[in-house]
Structure formats: structure tokens, C-alpha cells
Amino acid sequence: MAVSITDKISYKRLVSAGNDELWLEDINVAAGTKIELATATGDIDTGDQLTMASAFQKVFMANGANLKVADFINTRLTHTALTAAHARGDILTQASSAASMIVDHTNTAKTLTYGYTTTGTWDFSNSVTGSGAGTAFTPTGQAGMLTHTALATAHAADDVLTQATSSATMTVTATDATKTHTYGTITAGTWNTTNAVTGSGSGTGFTPTAVSVRPPVWYDWTVEPGGTSGAMPAKAYLVAVYRGRLVLAGNPLYPNQWFMAKVADPFNWLYGTNDPMSAVAGNNADAGQCPDIIRTLISFHDDYLIFGGTSTIWILRGDPVAGGSLDNLSDTTGIFGSNSWCFDDARNLYFWGSGGIYEIKSDFSGIRNLTEMVLPDIINDEAADPSTHRITMGYDKKRHGIVVAITVLATGVNSNYFYSFKTEGFYPESYPSECGSYSMLYYDANDTDYADLLVGCKNGYIRKFLTSAKDDDIGATDQAISSYATYPITPLSSDMDQNGKLTELVFDLAGGASGGDAGDTDGMTYELYSGDDAETVLEDIVDGATAFTSGTLSGTGRKNKIRPRMRGAFMGLKIYNSTASETWAINRVLYGTRKAGRVR
């Protein structure tokens, strides 16, 4: 007997913000396809700091005074202002239609009720009653979205759309930039994908290709009306989720304060109740001491929440109202910014701190400065300032390393590092300013083609590192990648303070035989330097001084022997390629020397 198994998977959507717009992955169309949540356009300021957190099938956004919610699970019913709002958890039932909903949230004006529809289809004729003390109402509208081919002219806000035959009507709220999705409030009838739709304004008529009565809805993140749910901070720039609580921080008026909503209730901010799930607020300091300013919130599952300050790091374990503890991790380093950290596969935390790039082991056995010995002056060299720079970090699972991007906010000019887990070394790199990183995320997409480290770039595109690409995609054109490697400065003699002569040099380029299974390298250029001391040689390379000799190699495999006859105490070798559409790799460099007298 054949067994039929239907996979059940959870669907992930990538939500991104840029250009004051919110875009979400429309998996109903295809993985990786983004559509604009048009109702959010202009409601956020991506020129200001913005952070997002995902919880309860919603996206919560902290963008200063713009505290917003993009809700992907609830239905929104519109009605006249209620005397008493329906409480969270109440069950709404409509007469005749038997539609039913679990209430999640009501707006401040008590004219919009959001909830999860469990059964039935709502209509606009029959009364809705609740299981609690909320006022009964008859819905006047329901959030909806019509999908269609691109319109020549979009329908404007407040236009009324009417569908032939079904007589369904919708009041338009917004149309996305591609003019393929119209959001609004359905006010009558049942929409279909058969009949034509016309608008009361100048928008182009269309026939819907898809109808949604539960589109993503966008609304202000507020407390429940009625005065018993406390008050949210007026502003916040940091948001995280920890143990079912939404956490906010970064209020400019109270930069050292953090705020947590009630467990599993992002709309209740009433502090100090005698309830282990109560909302709570606090700061990070020993008793009697001044707290540090909070720059980042880092939550790790329900295990702990790290507060990164300007010069301290604190860790909260457990729940702050029910037996949790707050301990200091570091008094000497803070964390640069809200995105200046990432976790690797082993749950180790990496962050840009006051003295460089740090690692905190998953067992909190210590904080290690990774750049202390190899890049001791990285802080001064980069001179990053939180008011002008953004530092983002991301774990590249495919390439086994951490990408650290330091970007000038105004121009996109950047200076970056790739920390390799294989070599435990730092590789400096920079991208075209169009590709300057403003955000990074390893997106574990359902479709593996899109599961990668994503970089949100200055010009509004989301990019990823592609091994097969040989140039950077900066938009309309591609830009060549300039890459180089400098070999360690090498003494030319085994005796102390003795000159040597470089008699032969052999390069072994990657690719084996040309055209075989192994990937073939493109060409490269080499430059040789010599000097009486190592630092002079290195300085010449860095300063771009005239090399002793240089050459260009092409093809794969072992190249012909080069006889440079270069004399000196130390030698330096730089290899590079700046040609468009080329990449290069080298297996090894062989060299031979002989003594050449004392250093004078």
C-alpha cells in the first residue's frame, strides 16, 4: 500500500526596510520575490536608526517615535468606536456567518480590532459579540489586498473600488510601487478573480489575479486601550525578543533604560504588578551606581539577553521578574552598535568592542580580543564613530567566517574584514560604496538558493557573496575586484645580518592542467621588493614604491623559473589582480637564495 506523506513546514518570510519602505518576501508567488507593504510606506524613517524583531508572527519595529507592527497572522475588522474594547483573548463570534476570532489587539481609538480568525468568513451585516465585556459591533470593513497585473495608473488612497457582478467594494489604502498590489478595506461583498474592478478615481481598471482577506496589516504599536495596560516608552531604537517579552531600549531621553512588555503580550506595558509575567523596566548597574547607556540588545533563545553598553556588557539570565539575575560580563569594553555582533554555529558571540573584535565563548569562559595581537591598532585605524559609521557583522556559514563591515553612513564608503575560522586570520577588504553594508543577516530560507549571508546595501539592494561571480554588481554595471596578497617579509640569508641573493623564483598557480576539473586561475601580477630591514621592505609595499622587479603570469600550474638576482637582507613579494572578470589562486611559491656578503 502506498503511503502518502504531505510535508508540513513552517514558512519564513524575509522582511526588509529601506528607502522608508517595508518589503516582504511573497512566498505565495515565489521564494525570494519581494513585494512592498504599501501601507507602511512613509511611516518609517530608514535614514534614522531602525531595528526589527520577529515574534508572534509579527514584525515589531523600533524607529524612534515610529513604533510599528507588521502583522502577518491577524485579520483586521473595522467598526465604529466601541464603548468598551474587546480584551486580548476574547472570542468574537458573528451571528449568521458564525465567523469567529480570537482577539489580539485593539487600537487606541477602539475602531480596529485585530485577531486570529479561526473559522468562517466575516460579513458586514451581522452583529459581532464577544465573550468578554467588550461592546458588540457590526463590522464596517475588513483589511484586504488585491493582486493584479501592473496598472498604468494606481488607485489613490480613499478611492473606492467596485467589482462587477459581485458588487464587492473596497476603500483603497495604498498601492505598492510596482502597482501590482492594492491594499485597502473591504466594505461589502465577496471579491473574486473573475470580474472586472473599477475605481472611483483615475486608477486603471483591472481584474484581480488574487484576493486576500488576511493580508499583512500595518499598525501603530500601542498599549491596549482602557488605561490598564501601562505606557510604552515614547521612543525606542532597539528592539529584541526575550523569553516571550518584547524588549525596547534606546530611548534618547532615557538611554540607560530598558523596557520589557508582559510575557506573551506585546501590548501590555504595565509595570510593577504582582504577577511573574508583568511588564518590567530597569537599567544595568550595581546598586547605587550609575547605569551605562545601552547600545545593543542581543538575545539568545530564551537563555540569556546581553545588554551591550558604551563601555560595559551585562548579561541577563532568566526572567527579570521571576528569579532572573543580571551580571556584569565586562567593565572595560562595550559594543559599538545595534548590529555590531553576530553568533557562529557554535553559539560563540562576536562583537566590535572598545578595543577591537572580541569573541565570547558560548560557555562564557572568557572574553577574547581577536585583534589584540594581529591588528592592535584597529580601533584607531578605522576611527569609527557611532554617529557617522555603522558596523555590521554577519556569520558566513558557507565560507566559514565572520564578515565585519565598517561603513560610513553618508557615503557608503567602507572598510571591512573577513575573519576566517580556518586560518584564524583577518582579511581586509572593501566593497564599492554602492555595496556598503547597512545591515547583515544570515537568512536560513526555506529555499536553499536563498539561504545565505545577506547584506543590505547602501543603494537599497540586498546582496550576497557569490563564489562564481568575478566582479561586484553595483547596479547598472559591474565593478572589477582588486585583490592582492603580501607574503611575509622573508630574510634572504639564514645567517644573522647577512645579505642574500634571490636566485630563482617559481610560482605554482591553481587549476592543475588547463581546462581540467579543477577551477583554473586567471592571471596575476607579482612584485618583488628588497631592503636591509623588514619594516622598510613592508613600507615600500604599502606605499606602492617602485618594485625591484615585477611580472605577469597567466595560465595554470607550475610556471617557468624566474631568476631575479635580487640582493638584500629581506625580500617582499606582493601578488595581485585588478582585472575585471578575473579571479586568481596560487598554490605555492618556491624560491632559492645564496649568500651575498654582510649587510653594510
Binding site: 509595570y271 510593577g272 504582582n274 508583568s278 518590567v280 530597569g282 546598586a287 551585562w314 527579570p320 521578574v321
Partner: protein, 209 residues
């Protein structure tokens, strides 16, 4: 002697002979005269004993007085002795009743005093300790700078309020127990009817002596 209660009763009890079987009439007359009035046999035999009511020594209530009379001196002495003993017993019982009532009242009154004060003091001390212990715990766990610390006094006061209510309830229970005891005591107080059989037998014995 003036008639205090009514001509008929007075004249019958004072002047005339009351036939046997009119003991209760004489008793009623004596009761109407109040404390000190007596019913005395003054003649007849066995089943034909005659009774008459004798006014109290100080006279009938509301004025007038009058004295009793009749009967032989031995009976009178016995009666006087009986009355004296009865009065003494009554006084003693009344004194004991007053003492017991006073004891109950004292017990009832204690609920308003030191017990309540001590109980409230204990509650306040426990509240202070709870706030202190909770604060120390929060400091140890690093949570001193949170609203949890600020809510400790509120939680402690809520608990103290419940404790105060329990204290009041306890005081009320004890008071009610005392009141119920007093009520039971009062309920048990009885004033038995005098055993006139003994008196009649004594009078009869005196008359035949």
C-alpha cells in the same frame, strides 16, 4: 390601709378568709404587692388549708404600707429564716452572676486592646523584613535597578493588608466566642419557682404543734 391595687383584692386578702383552693388567688395578690409580700396559711386542716396574702413590711408598693399578721410565731420564725436564707442565696447568686458577667466583659474588651496592638506591630515588622529580604535578593541578582524592586513595597503592603484582615478576623472570632459564652451563661441563669410544698409542710407542722 388604703387599697393600692384594687378594693376587691385588698379586701379579700386582708379581711376575709380565703377558702381552700384559693392559694393561687392569694399568691396572685401577694405578687401584685411586690417583693416582701407573702402567702401564709392561717387555718384549716389537711386539704382544707386556708391561705391569705400578707403585704410586705414596708407596705404595698406606691404608698401605703401595712404589716402582715397571722400565723403562729414558730412558723413566722421559720418563714423569716427561710426568707432570710433565700435572700442571702439570691444575693450570693446575683453577686456571682455579676462577677461572671464582669469576667466575660473583661475578656470581650481585651480584643480592643493590647492584642490588636501587638498583632499590628508583628505585621509591620514582617512587612519591613519582607521588603528588606526581597531587596537584598534583588541586589544579589543584579535586579535592583528594575521596576521589580520598586514594586516590592507594594507587594509587601498588599500582603500586610491581608494579614491585618486576618488579625481582625481572629480578634472578631475570639470576641464572638466570648460573647457566645456570655450569652450561654446568661441563658443558663434561671429563677426557679419557690418550693412552697416545703413551706406548707412547715406551716402545717407548726399549726399542729
Amino acid at each position: 390601709m388604703g387599697d393600692q391595687q384594687g378594693t376587691l383584692r385588698y379586701s379579700e386578702s386582708w379581711k376575709g378568709e380565703i377558702m381552700a383552693g384559693t392559694y393561687y388567688a392569694a399568691l396572685a395578690q401577694a405578687q401584685s404587692w411586690g417583693a416582701g409580700a407573702k402567702v401564709v396559711p392561717y387555718g384549716g386542716t389537711n386539704t382544707g388549708i386556708k391561705y391569705k396574702a400578707v403585704p410586705p413590711p414596708g407596705g404595698i408598693r406606691g404608698g401605703g404600707g401595712g404589716g402582715g399578721g397571722g400565723g403562729n410565731s414558730a412558723y413566722a420564725s421559720l418563714l423569716a429564716n427561710f426568707q432570710k436564707r433565700e435572700a442571702a442565696a439570691l444575693a450570693s447568686n446575683e453577686a456571682r452572676e455579676a462577677e461572671v458577667r464582669g469576667t466575660y466583659d473583661e475578656i470581650i474588651g481585651q480584643g480592643q486592646g493590647a492584642f490588636r496592638t501587638a498583632g499590628l506591630a508583628d505585621i509591620e515588622e514582617a512587612k519591613t523584613k519582607a521588603v528588606g529580604a526581597g531587596t537584598q535578593q534583588l541586589i544579589s541578582s543584579g535586579m535592583y535597578g528594575t521596576t521589580t524592586a520598586a514594586s516590592l513595597p507594594v507587594q509587601a503592603e498588599n500582603q500586610a493588608a491581608r494579614s491585618r484582615l486576618k488579625l481582625e478576623d481572629l480578634i472578631q472570632q475570639r470576641t464572638n466566642t466570648a460573647k457566645l459564652g456570655k450569652a450561654a451563661f446568661v441563658e443558663r441563669i434561671s429563677e426557679p419557682y419557690p418550693d412552697y410544698n416545703i413551706l406548707m409542710q412547715a406551716a402545717a407542722a407548726g399549726a399542729s404543734a
